[in-house]
Symmetry: C2
């Protein structure tokens, strides 16, 4: 195998990362899915990440336990209520409380380590700067800075054998464009999970930022929404 | 308290990070020590990190469990022998097998998250580019790239309230200079642990890279070496 065609794909089990994984597969990469059990409220997404990785034919799917609750700081990891309806981040200005401090930096760093070990020259991340413009670590300038840093950080990159390419294929897409892209690639979105605050049986609340953006995305894309809202 | 004077200090319990913490304290920072239980062979260093943090008056000392053995790739985390004597990295050219893929990037990323949560504008790391010139993530250009990335990554930095300053005060020092600096600041090096491959009781092997550099450093600094070599 051409080792430059191995890609670590960060997969949360949500709509965006699933689409990013489908794009990596479509582009011919051998896929290594990586997820994090970081104490998130919405741990249903880990089961979704596993299903999606199987469905898209990942070579391997690794779940890294990393307890980010030790220092909290986010509605997703600490005892801060997830905003709903008109108070939610999707409706409000600024950076939402569901922001997890330095989360993408942490995830990308660990993906970088795994990429070096398995000799993968590519990492895919499903960030987008349109719907989540409030998250600093979803912006193109952040992605470019991480890639530059990564190419100074590892033995593989510094010795020149394996430069690191960081792909964020959704970064300039709207949610509707993401859904249309994934649908064209045959993604089964019923396998994915987006809700930040699911009910105990895993049904989506329909009212948190993530649900609101997902519902609206399917509507705008003109694609039937397979999500079960409770 | 002036929040800009809070610093997260990465503390392994070894000679270098201990000296970096002593420098941060000397410069007037309130110290928040952070260590990682990452499956390293030399876990004795965690007890040393705790002792050093107490000794230097850290406000808090956090140990983050992070299992890097899941993907291995280093003599420090996988079943690869630690080189000794003439085959060791200290003697050899290139990047040694004790290099842990992307380790400093992972540690700094998690330090960045904690810094944001506690509103600290400073991170100290005890890397040096002289003795460990083989480690890509110990070089000045890497440190500068991480700092640039960090200032695009967090809510605190992007909103302008808390830019991130990454300090690597030892980066251009020799081991002897580090030991002399720490000794001048009153560091008790008997609390520290450097050996990559300690005996079960915690005594230092005296022959791995880390021991070789430490012994030579004390000799060159003209400071008595308090280490017990077995």
């Amino acid at each position: 195998m051409d080792i430059s065609k191995k890609a670590v794909v960060l997969i949360s089990g949500g709509l965006d990362s699933t689409t990013a994984m489908a794009i990596a597969k479509h582009q011919g990469y051998a896929i290594y899915g990586m997820s994090f059990d970081y104490g998130q409220r919405h741990r249903f997404e880990l089961a979704a990440a596993r299903k999606v990785s199987d469905y898209l034919g990942a070579v391997q799917h690794l779940v890294i336990p990393l307890d980010l609750t030790v220092f909290g700081g986010s509605a997703l990891t600490a005892d801060i209520p997830v905003p709903k309806g008109r108070n939610s981040g999707a409706m409000a200005r600024g950076i939402p409380v569901t922001y997890v401090p330095a989360r993408n930096t942490i995830f990308l760093s660990i993906a970088l380590a795994w990429a070096e070990v398995i000799k993968a020259g590519h990492i895919f991340i499903g960030v987008n700067a349109v719907d989540y413009s409030g998250y600093p670590d979803c912006r193109p300038e952040y992605i470019a800075a991480f890639e530059s840093m990564a190419n100074l950080a590892t033995k593989a990159a510094v010795e020149g054998s394996l430069p690191l390419h960081l792909h964020a294929p959704l970064i300039r897409m709207t949610k509707a464009q993401i859904i249309r892209t994934g649908t064209d690639l045959g993604v089964d979105y019923s396998l994915t999970h987006s809700c930040y605050d699911p009910c105990p049986e895993g049904g989506a609340c329909g009212r948190c930022d993530s649900c609101v953006l997902r519902r609206r995305g399917f509507l705008e894309a003109g694609v039937a929404d397979p999500t079960v809202y409770t």
